[in-house]
């Protein structure tokens, strides 16, 4: 592959700007040309993915690149490191699946032009979060991600959606405010050395550092749905299913998780973070969110809300791994980060198919759905097993390394928490499957039609990917290894 410096810069810029360019293009196309618009959406989403891949692979190969723009006292810079590369890879790749699913799910809905353009805008924002080279650039794209996803949350135009949108904005802007204060304090301590040259705050000694860390964690914790900052997430489930699947199970919430990891490893560094006692306190916060989230999920009858609370729980798997400050823990966090979205998006995709074909959103009324939509429910079952962390599905590996990390760090109770969470996850989703196949009500619907194929294909592809990567984890392991080497090497 050509890895000349100029080519890398071009890949980086194209990876970042594909989404924004596509969003503008979609906005300018008249509403009637649906096919053309879909083609353009897919084209730009694919171009974003391809160039993010090229950038990420070059980063894994040890060839980073940097683009900076000085404005006043601040500098906006893009400078991907392995952690950013992993996030950029996941986000941009899964975007294509969600885009294809959207073609089916949104086929007869109104407001598609706005939907697709902001769907693409948020791709750019997510890639920007991933590849940001310093704190203020990270903040810029983090804010843009909130703004670009707002129209998607309120897409249904109901009063409920409007209220959820307001909640979404309020929670996320408050979190961003805390981050902004923390960033300004960081700049006062250490200036702006960027992420790639070792921890930003290395060598700084101040009694305020603990509070600074709390401020960062609270700020990013809002998007990472760390309890009790998670309330916007279930509310945001009024959005169309592809949005819930991609943004509120993966991209947006991952931006929060990514921010937390970024702060712990790139801003504070594991040395300073260890001194501040991160590994003594924060894993407990994460562990309680893991259990509380999934227990609340058990009590939800609306399938999407159950999935939302389960997202809250699963995001804290990643945080738990990062907070252990152990190489295996971070590797586990990365494996979880890479493997979990396949299964989670499958669950959401299936929930969307069920809701669209039968009109049912409540689990208690899904009796007999399995008979009518056997393939969908098969994919759902596979993904449900994936949520429990069962071989041969790839999510097993995330959990395996997380447990390894917590035991290696002398924190074996967290291994128990993970095991217990797996069981409760089973209790969450297996009854749904049983209910779907056993129930006697038979809603009238079919598993056929053009849009059905468009919706089912991404779900099936994700299950296949999860199976393959579960059997051959070596495919995704280099990503986790690169990040672990980067921070621990």
């Amino acid at each position: 592959m050509p890895y000349s410096a100029d080519a890398l810069k071009i890949y980086l810029v194209l990876g970042l700007s594909s989404g924004a360019a596509g969003g503008l293009a979609v906005m300018l196309i008249p509403g009637a040309r649906r096919r053309l618009r879909n083609m353009i959406t897919l084209l730009f989403a694919a171009s974003g993915a391809v160039f993010s891949w090229l950038t990420a692979l070059s980063v894994f190969a040890g060839k980073g690149t940097r683009i900076g723009f000085v404005s006043g006292d601040l500098e906006w810079s893009l400078d991907p490191d392995p952690l950013g590369a992993v996030f950029g890879l996941i986000a941009s790749t899964l975007w294509m699946f969600a885009t294809v699913y959207s073609f089916g799910y949104m086929a007869e809905k109104s407001g598609q032009r706005v939907y697709y353009s902001f769907f693409l805008f948020s791709l750019s924002a997510a890639v920007g979060v991933a590849f940001a080279g310093n704190l203020v650039t990270l903040y810029l794209f983090y804010e843009l991600l909130t703004l670009a996803t707002y129209p998607l949350v309120i897409h249904e135009r109901t009063p409920e959606a409007a209220a959820a949108g307001t909640k979404y904005i309020m929670y996320n802007l408050s979190g961003a405010g805390a981050i902004l204060i923390a960033i300004i304090i960081t700049y006062r301590y250490a200036g702006d050395p960027g992420f790639t040259g070792g921890p930003v705050l290395a060598g700084v000694n101040s009694p305020m550092l603990g509070w600074l860390l709390v401020m960062y964690i609270v700020g990013f914790g809002v998007k990472a749905a760390l309890m009790p900052l998670h309330r916007w997430l279930p509310a945001a489930m009024v959005a169309p299913t592809p949005v819930s699947a991609l943004l509120h199970a993966v991209a947006v919430v991952y931006a929060g998780v990514f921010g937390v990891i970024r702060v712990v490893y790139s801003v504070f560094g594991r040395g300073l973070a260890g001194q501040l006692g991160i590994s003594r306190v924060l894993p407990w916060v994460a562990a309680s969110t893991i259990l509380a989230g999934v227990i609340v999920a058990l009590r939800q009858d609306v399938l999407k809300r159950r999935l939302a609370y389960q997202t809250v729980s699963h995001l804290s798997y990643i945080l738990l791994g990062a907070f252990t400050l152990q190489p295996w823990g971070l590797a586990g966090a990365m494996m979880q980060m890479i493997t979990y979205p396949f299964m989670k998006m499958t669950l959401f995709f299936c929930a969307g198919i069920i809701a669209r074909q039968t009109g049912e959103t409540r689990i208690s009324r899904m009796g007999g759905v399995g008979r009518k939509l056997p393939w969908t429910m098969a994919a759902f079952t596979a993904a449900a097993l994936g949520m429990t962390g069962m071989l041969p599905l790839s999510t097993f590996w995330g959990k395996y390394y997380l447990m390894k990390g917590s035991v290696a760090g002398g924190m074996w109770p967290f291994a128990l928490v993970l095991a217990a969470s797996g069981l409760i996850n089973a209790a969450c989703f297996i009854p749904v499957v049983v209910q779907a196949f056993r129930g006697d009500k038979t809603p009238s619907c079919k598993e056929k039609g053009g849009s059905m194929a468009l919706m089912f294909a991404p779900a099936a592809a994700l299950v296949v990917i999860a199976l393959v990567t579960g059997l051959v984890p070596g495919i995704v392991w280099p990503g986790a290894e690169a990040v672990t080497d980067w921070f621990f090497g």
């Binding site: 000085v70 404005s71 601040l74 703004l147 129209p151 802007l173 405010g177 902004l180 300004i184």
Partner: protein, 529 residues
């Protein structure tokens, strides 16, 4: 000729708008000529300020003191061209030029008749000229005169629509502003009595001495000046007149009142406090604490009061109360970063609030609806106007790459410098509340579809059908209202909105020179240099 202008540039920047304003009524009948003259005067002012900025940048550290008529101080009148003056002049000219542009061709619809247009332009130019003077004047009494000119022009602008509500608002404003002027003049009197000087530099030296001998008089002077200018610039809780006055004025007037006039008084107060009384006296009398507290209260209370307003312009007017709080907060921090941030925020807010009022005015004029709840879907019909409104809103909330973010960045840095954490939290809380009162507007404009008429009874429907039927088959006469097409305003208005949005972006993306200017102004005021 060029040499004459270049040598007397500070005076020209003030005189050109004032003179143009006075001459305008002569051509009142010739609308095009009047408009051209206004824009020409504005452009000349902007060019002059650009040249002044060039001078300040090349001769850094030394002020250009211009003596009117060549008479030296303390007898003559001085104009000081320093970083602060140039910064504020830039804000005034860069924002008032687009506002003037916006009024081209459609001012008659806003104010009623051609006669009123000429009057409006006269007042507008007098206001701009007096604002320019406030930035430059280095003399207490001339500052007062310019403040009076500005106040009376503002009053006229508020009432220029001629509706009873506007008249009432203008009257309230007149009473309070006159009260404020008399407070200011009493304060100036005290300073003059104790020091014997009206020149700011000499008065300042005199006050340092007078403070030892007669502290009570100095205390009275500082409190009269603070309350007087505080009332004029809506320092919380002296803001009561603002929402009525700014929301009942015609939109271009609202833009110039909220965007610039209030800032002029703030700059006057800033000069009185920092230049005349000096940072040491401010600390002695806890003026800094008062400003910070009032600023924080304004940020929160103004935003909370803006939340329930359904009238778009009233919501924006309350937002001004809140935003002015940021600037006062920065004035009170007594810190280079904080003061620079406050000045930057002042310029940023001038551009943003003008954009908001102008675009809101265009929407109100085109759709004939004032309330936010009635504006559903207007963004699709007036995309450019609504886009300008959205960009300005994001700037006000403080999204990076817009001007508000840079201002807030330095304000937060400044409040962290002082070691007090509360202002920092209030700044962020104000941004979140700002999103809370602006996002519903954005949502209504872009993402809501116009509501269908409420369920009507069959009889009403039948009547309506009959009327419609009749309307369709009758020629459109004066009795039958025609359907008004809601669309973007004309080319001049579009250009004005684009220019203002460009200012917001330029300040946000390349803030370098502007923040440098603001910072050197802050350093001069704090006497760090």
């Amino acid at each position: 000729m060029t040499a004459v202008i270049a040598d007397n540039l500070p005076a020209f920047v003030i005189i050109v708008p004032l003179f143009a304003g006075v001459v305008l009524p002569v051509f009142a009948r010739r609308q095009r000529l009047v408009e051209g003259l206004v824009v020409l005067a504005e452009a000349a002012g902007l060019a002059g300020v650009g040249f002044l900025a060039y001078i300040v940048f090349t001769h850094r550290g030394t002020d250009w003191v211009y003596q009117m008529g060549g008479w030296p101080a303390p007898w003559g009148i001085e104009l000081t061209v320093n970083s602060l003056a140039v910064f504020f002049l830039f804000a005034v000219m860069a924002v008032s030029l687009p506002i003037a542009l916006f009024t081209m061709g459609n001012l008659k619809d806003e104010v009623g008749s051609n006669k009123r247009t000429a009057r409006f332009y006269t007042l507008f130019l007098l206001l701009v000229g007096s604002l320019a003077g406030m930035a430059l004047a280095n003399d207490l009494f001339n500052t007062y005169v310019l403040v009076e000119v500005a106040t009376l022009s503002c009053c006229g602008l508020v009432s220029s629509r001629g509706t009873p509500r506007a008249a009432e608002a203008a009257f309230t404003y007149l009473v309070l502003a006159t009260l404020a002027s008399s407070l200011v003049v009493i304060g100036i009197g005290f300073i003059y009595v104790t020091t014997g000087h009206l020149n700011m530099g000499f008065a300042s030296q005199g006050l340092a001495q007078a403070w030892q001998d007669r502290p009570h008089v100095v205390w009275l002077a500082i409190s009269f000046v603070l309350v007087g200018f505080g009332l004029k610039s809506a320092l919380f809780p002296l803001h009561v007149w603002l929402p009525d006055a700014h929301s009942s004025a015609p939109s271009p007037a609202s833009a110039v009142l909220s965007g610039l006039a209030v800032k002029g008084y703030m700059i006057c107060l800033l000069k009185f406090l920092y230049v005349v009384f000096g940072p040491a006296l401010m600390k002695e009398f806890s003026v800094d604490r008062i400003l910070v507290l009032a600023g924080m209260a304004a940020i929160i209370c103004g935003a909370v009061m803006a939340l329930p307003q359904d009238d778009l312009k009233r919501r924006l007017a309350f937002s001004t109360v809140s935003q002015v709080g940021y600037i006062y907060l920065g004035f009170g921090l007594m810190d280079e970063n904080g003061l620079a941030g406050a000045l930057f925020y002042l310029a940023s807010h001038a551009a943003i609030k003008s954009t908001l009022f102008l675009s809101a005015g265009a929407m109100i004029a085109s759709a004939g609806k004032k309330k936010i709840s009635e504006m559903a879907g207007i963004g699709r019909k007036m995309p450019l106007t609504a886009a300008a409104f959205t960009a300005a809103s994001l700037g006000l909330i403080g999204i990076p790459m817009f001007s508000g973010f840079i201002g807030k960045w330095y304000l937060i840095a400044g409040s962290l410098d002082t070691g007090d954490f509360l202002p920092t939290v209030i700044i962020i809380a104000g941004s979140v509340l700002c999103a809370a009162y602006l996002f519903p507007v954005i949502r209504a404009m872009w993402f809501e579809t116009p509501q269908k008429a409420k369920q009507e009874s069959t009889v009403q429907q039948e009547c309506k059908t009959a009327v419609q039927h009749a309307a369709e088959h009758m020629p459109a006469g004066p009795g039958v209202p025609r359907e008004v097409r809601v669309k973007d305003p004309g080319a001049a208005q579009k250009l004005a909105l684009i220019l203002l949005t460009a200012v917001i972006f330029v300040l946000g993306v390349v803030p370098g020179p502007f923040i440098e200017l603001a910072r050197s102004a802050a350093a001069e005021l704090l006497m760090l240099r």
